[in-house]
Amino acid sequence: MNRLFPVLALLVAVMLAYAPVMIAGAPYESTMGLVQKIFYFHVPAAMAMFVSAFVCGIASAVYLFGRRPAADRIAVSAAELTALFGVIVLISGPLWARKAWGVWWQWDARLTSTLVLWLIFQAYLLLRRYGGPGSDRLAAGVALFGMANVPFVYWSVNVWRTLHPTTSVLPTLQPGMRGPLWFSVAAFIGLYVLMLGARTRLEQRRAELEELYLAAEE
């Protein structure tokens, strides 16, 4: 990972620098016009949020049932990143909605379930910070609930009537819109992997510091 990190960082930086050029060159949507360009990083941020929730849930399950500290370090890092990408989704969405729907927020199934997902991971982080001894296992259980919420968020637009576009938008995208979107998705997932690596490294160093403190006390 240490050797790959600078290469991946350079690649992601180039991709993130070029993504706005591709987005600017993408055709306008017929009814929404310019504001639809928010789509090209609102959706990648949502995908990174979902991936992160899954990473956190799976790592938490490994920690709960396998008692591997490395899995817990990945889980807490992924939980923080879920919250971060959730902030991007929950702010860019209303900015798009204000122009497209005429309102900042609508309490429909997709928006509300996304907010609930974000709140679950905020609860995880609060538990880890203020929960005291044993909170790591309790938080791991919360992360499993968070991961289980992801499919509901994804399918909510197909099951309930919402203002939010359905999941059929992505497979039916025109080629001019498809390229910039998947390029942005790749850039965001690359950024997510980089940040997860950096954040997990921080947790690893914290664990080493704990070991050092124990050694100093002895």
Partner: protein
């Protein structure tokens, strides 16, 4: 052609030229007058007092919310959030490294004693 005949012919041409010039001048004056009348500003009148409000479903196009500030704000929020998070990781990592160096020095000092 005698002198008398030539004088008569010259007088006819001069009269034709005079009449032509007069007609041209009259046409120009008529055209200019028409143009002045048609382009003259209408006398200004204050708009009548509004006696009631008429509801419409859509905001007029020139008063609609512009999209560009919303797109720019959304991009800015995304990048500010990512940059601040990366900065926070860097700060926390630097703090842990400093603490590790301090504890390592303490351990080494204890071993020497």
């Amino acid at each position: 052609m005698t002198k008398v005949e030539r004088r008569r012919t010259d007088g006819g041409a001069r009269a034709k030229a005079v009449w032509g010039s007069a007609l041209l001048a009259a046409a120009v004056i008529v055209l200019m007058a028409t143009a002045m009348v048609t382009t003259a500003p209408a006398p200004t009148q204050p708009p009548p007092a509004q006696e009631g409000f008429v509801p419409v479903q859509d905001v007029p196009p020139d008063e609609q919310l512009p999209a560009a500030p919303l797109v720019i704000a959304a991009y800015a929020v995304a990048w500010i959030a990512v940059v601040l998070y990366l900065w926070s990781i860097w700060q926390r990592l630097a703090r842990v490294e400093r603490e590790m160096a301090a504890v390592s020095r303490r351990i080494q000092g204890g071993i020497r004693q």
